[in-house]
């Protein structure tokens, strides 16, 4: 706040305000008065002029010429004119004059003025035709009465039918009433203004007085403050002086400290505000150089640390908290100096960082010591890391809390050592096999109690789920903090353990082998002998171990044994050598020997292993097999011969049976046709029997040939689209005469059925066989019912009779060649036992199935189902497919 210069002047302000107000009000009053007066006068003038003009126009006819040529003197005329003008005079306010052109008054309502003459210039103007107004004094024209202010209007006066004005009519009236009117109008306004002024001033004065007082008060306070300020300023000056003194003292101190102190603006890091002179000793650059070279700091920071230091400074400034960092600087002479930089960030009142203060401590020696220490630690670590086992120090507690654990633990458990230290992620107890944990605890506690080292084997769990076998050796020691700790090493012996297991497994396999398995050293002495060897050779292990292997060779075979051994020592194996050896009891046995060299880990031959398999039994089995093979070949040869003979027989039957049958039938035909003369009824009957039997014989030959074809795999079908229903109808009609003869009801029922691919002749033969069988084996009065239908993609034929039935034990022989049921034979029902075999062959060739259902004495049903093959295969395919 500035100091007020108007202090102590408030009364003047009030006066000035009052003066200005009064002035303004007076001016306003005057203005109003002027305006009102002017307005009133103008109005009065206008009224007067218009009255005069109107009067002039009215009078023009009533005035006489004489009234304007000579002053009116005759009393009559005066009275007449008085009467004429009386209405215009408005009770004396208006006065009238008539002027002659030369300025002589010819008439006035004030008779005394008649005859007076005035040189009035205005008259000429009026006479020229204009109306003139003027204000003057009554006595201006020589009156003797009260000299009052009047206003006049002059108008030209024309008599009737005259063009030129003959004289002038003057109306004039007293200005007094107008003035009175004005005064009356203005007086209340002036009063109001005065009153307003008084009120305004009266109300404003206390306020102004109050303000004045307040201003005065403030002014006083400011003056007081100014004094205070002055005093403080003086104190500050003294303090600054003291401070400077202190600063120079402290600076001297700071500049004596064995470290570099600096101040930097936050936006210009690198000692931009101050750096203590020790920097010269540290880096070889003087403080002035630092302040003059803004980027010097970043130039001396070691290039390897530059990026890190920049980042650290940036984040440190951003957080505003003090921070400390270590980095390298390169001195002017090239020395590398390690410094510790402790930085304090100074913020302004708003919290924005403005300055960084700090000091650099030379830690080059400390660093060197640290490096030396870490190198030594590293050496120790390397040593531990190279130990082929886990080195540890732990507490003796439930978790085996680890204080130290070498990295080898990662190999053993799949978890890093850091996981176990102080049980950070997991406890060491968690990787011990649960079954072994109690034993481990027990053993360790016992060893600690007896103050002896311990060795224990247990299992650990690997991250991948596998189990490792380890040996742990350890001993309790007294730790630095007085607590008893456990120091020790854990070795992974899984491989050794596995190898031992493997060895035991192999040994048991060797032991359980039927073969003789033995080992001999390079000098040929037996060193190992299994129970198989005991069995094969008759010697026990005790008897033979240590003896030369040559004892097994029979006399005359020793050389073979020697040469075998020479091969072995040369590293060559011998497999399946079949030779002869001698048992303990002297018996010779056939053996198959396999010799392999035994090598040590370096590959050198240290002996031989031998496996001897007793092949005496195999030898005799082989001989037997060879004999059987020969026998079989012989039998095959004979079978082939038989086959050939059968073919020949079939050809023979074909020709030699058919040819005579042809003659028999031919000549019978001739005789029956009575070519050789008329026949008696008896002759005809007998010849009928001959013909029927010839026909049976022919049928038998046909059946045999057919079966021979089937056997030879030469049955072929002539495939075509076949209507099974039609075939069944033909077969039924063929069998009908026989059925009627035997008093058997024969029926046929057919359902809707598609054409099937089949051999018409063979299928007809099939149905003939089944239907004639049914008729043959059904006693008189019975029935044979034939049904043909389609069912689930198959064509089904059923032939059901009410005949004698087939016992179940005979049913499975039914389709064999030449099989006849016991009853058929008993009852001498004619037949060869070939019909059903042929039927089955036909069904098989069509890839169908034939089944029989029967109960002894309860009738028989044959059921055939054939696949419905819509597509007709080509002939070749059909032959190939159906060949049996």
């Amino acid at each position: 706040m500035t100091r007020s210069t108007s202090a102590g002047r408030p009364p003047r302000l009030v006066l000035r305000f009052a003066l200005y107000s009064a002035l303004a009000l007076t001016l306003a009053g005057t203005g109003i008065l002027f305006v009102v007066r002017h307005e009133a006068q103008v109005r009065a003038d206008r009224e007067l002029t218009s009255d005069a003009t109107r009067a002039a126009a009215t009078l023009s006819t009533q005035l006489r010429k004489a009234d304007l040529t000579e002053p009116v003197t005759s009393p009559e005329r005066l009275a007449a004119l008085d009467a004429l003008f009386a209405p215009e005079l408005m009770n004396g306010v208006v006065r009238v004059k008539l002027w002659r052109r030369d300025g002589t008054v010819t008439y006035s309502n004030d008779h005394s003025l008649i005859g007076t003459r005035v040189d009035a210039e205005e008259l000429d103007e009026v006479l020229a035709g204009r109306t003139v107004r003027e204000t003057g004094r009554l006595n201006d024209e020589g009156g003797q009465g009260k000299n009052i202010k009047v206003t006049s209007a002059y108008v030209p006066l024309r008599l009737a039918d005259e063009q030129r004005p003959r004289g002038v009519l003057e109306f004039y009236n007293d200005y007094g009433p107008i003035e009175a009117q004005v005064v009356a109008t203005v007086k209340p306004i002036a009063l109001a203004l005065g009153l307003a002024f008084l009120l305004l001033f009266g109300s404003l004065f206390p306020i102004l007085h109050q303000v004045t007082k307040a201003l005065q008060h403030r002014s006083d306070r400011l003056a007081h403050q100014a004094e205070e300020l002055e005093r403080t300023l003086n104190e500050r000056r003294q303090a600054v002086a003291g401070l400077r003194e202190a600063e120079s003292r402290y600076r001297a101190l700071v500049e004596q400290l064995p470290l570099v102190t600096y101040v930097s603006a936050i936006d210009k890091p690198g000692f931009s505000a101050y750096v203590s002179p020790q920097i010269d000793g540290l880096l070889g650059y003087s403080p002035d150089e630092w302040l003059a070279t803004p980027n010097l700091f970043w130039r001396v920071v070691h290039p390897d640390d530059l990026e890190r230091v920049r980042t650290e400074h940036r984040t440190g400034y951003a957080t505003g908290r003090p921070f400390s960092t270590q980095y390298r600087l390169v001195a002017r002479d090239g020395r590398v100096v390690w410094v510790e930089d402790q930085v304090i960030v100074i913020a302004d009142a708003t919290g924005a960082p403005v300055q960084a203060q700090g000091f650099l401590l030379d830690i080059t020696h400390r660093k060197a010591a640290e490096v030396a220490l870490s190198e030594s630690e590293e050496r120790f670590r390397t040593l531990v890391a190279n130990v082929p086992g886990v080195i540890f120090r732990c507490s003796i507690d439930n978790d085996w809390t680890m204080e130290f654990l070498s990295d080898e633990i990662d190999e053993l458990t799949g978890y890093p050592a850091s996981d176990f230290i102080a049980n950070r992620v997991r406890t060491f107890a968690s990787v011990i096999h649960p079954e072994d944990a109690p034993r481990l605890t027990q053993e360790v506690e016992a060893a600690v109690a007896e103050e002896r080292p311990y060795t224990i084997e247990y299992r650990t769990l690997h991250r991948d789920g596998s189990i490792r076998h380890v040996v742990e050796r350890g001993q309790a020691i007294l730790g630095r903090d007085g607590e008893t700790k456990l120091d020790g090493a854990i070795f992974d012996v899984t491989e050794r353990w596995t190898a031992e297991n493997e060895r035991l497994k192999l040994a048991s396999i060797v032991e359980s082998s039927d073969d003789a398995i033995m080992a001999a050293s390079v000098d040929g002495r037996l060193s190992s002998w299994n129970s198989g060897a005991e069995r094969v050779f008759g010697y026990t292990a005790e008897e033979i171990i240590g003896k030369p292997i040559a004892v097994l060779a029979p006399p005359g075979k020793e050389d073979e044994q020697h040469s075998l051994f020479e091969q072995i020592t040369a590293g060559q194996a011998t497999a399946h050598l079949e030779t002869v050896r001698r048992r303990k009891d002297g018996a010779l046995i056939d053996v198959s020997f396999t010799f392999s060299p035994l090598r040590d880990a370096s590959g050198a031959v240290i002996g031989a292993s031998a496996i001897a398999h007793d092949i005496t039994e195999r030898r005799s089995a082989e001989a037997e097999r060879e004999r059987l093979l020969l026998e079989l070949a012989d039998q095959n040869e004979r079978l082939r011969e038989l086959d050939r003979l059968k073919d020949e027989f079939v050809a023979l039957v074909s020709h030699e049976l058919r040819t005579p049958l042809t003659s028999i039938r031919g000549y019978l035909e001739l005789v029956l046709e009575e070519e050789a003369g008329a026949l008696t009824d008896e002759q005809r009957q007998f010849l009928g029997v001959v013909e029927r039997n010839a026909h049976r014989l022919l049928a038998l030959v046909g059946d045999l040939l057919f079966l021979a074809q089937v056997e030879a795999g030469k049955l072929s079908l002539e495939l075509g689209a076949v209507d099974l229903s039609a075939i069944a109808a033909e077969s039924v009609e063929t069998a009908r005469p026989l059925a009627e003869e035997r008093d058997i009801t024969l029926t046929l029922a057919t359902g809707p059925l598609a054409l099937i691919a089949g051999d018409h002749a063979r299928l007809a033969q099939l149905l003939d066989n089944l239907i004639s069988n049914g008729v043959k084996f059904t006693p008189p009065g019975g029935r044979v019912d034939v049904r043909v239908k389609g069912q689930r993609g198959k064509a089904v034929i059923e032939v059901r009779d009410t005949g004698m039935g087939i016992p179940s034990e005979e049913q499975h022989h039914l389709f064999e060649r030449f099989f006849r049921t016991a009853k058929a034979t008993e009852q001498a029902i004619p037949g060869t036992g070939l019909g059903l075999a042929i039927s089955k062959a036909i069904v098989d060739a069509h890839r169908g199935q034939i089944t029989v259902a029967s109960a002894d004495g309860g009738g028989t049903t044959f059921r055939i189902s054939l696949p419905i093959r819509q597509a007709q295969p080509t002939e070749e395919e059909a032959v190939e497919e159906l060949a049996l």
Binding site: S654, T659, L661, G666
Partner: protein
């Protein structure tokens, strides 16, 4: 064709009964018949007599029916003569062999003499 206008038919079969039976049947049917006892003879007779048709048994000694047919087909004179084979063989391959040799038809044994008659008629009437 014979002098009296009857067709001449050669019958060849080694079985005299069948030979007589067939001859009798054909003669009664109005044909003239010459006989042969084997294949060799059948070829000689056919070349000598120029029959209108030959019925030849397949299974004959010396020269069988197939061979006789083949020889007759090679001769100019008998190359177009209809030949019916008589066969007791029923295998398809036997029938095929007959056609390969040049036969026009075949009749299986045992046959009805009446059936043979109608086959002969058919072969001549072609």
């Amino acid at each position: 064709m014979t002098r009296n206008g009857q067709p001449l038919i050669l019958i060849a079969d080694d079985d005299p009964d069948i030979l007589a039976l067939v001859s009798f049947r054909l003669e009664r049917a109005g044909y003239e018949v010459v006989q042969a006892r084997n294949g060799e003879e059948a070829v000689q007779v056919a070349l000598a007599r120029r029959p209108d048709l030959a019925v030849i048994d397949v299974m004959m000694p010396r020269v069988d029916g197939y061979e006789a047919t083949r020889q007759l087909r090679q001769q100019e004179e008998t190359s177009r003569m209809p030949i019916i084979l008589l066969t007791a063989r029923v295998q398809e391959e036997d029938i095929a062999r007959g056609f390969d040799a040049g036969a026009d038809d075949y009749v299986r044994k045992p046959f009805s003499p009446q059936e043979l008659g109608s086959r002969v008629q058919a072969a001549l009437g072609r």
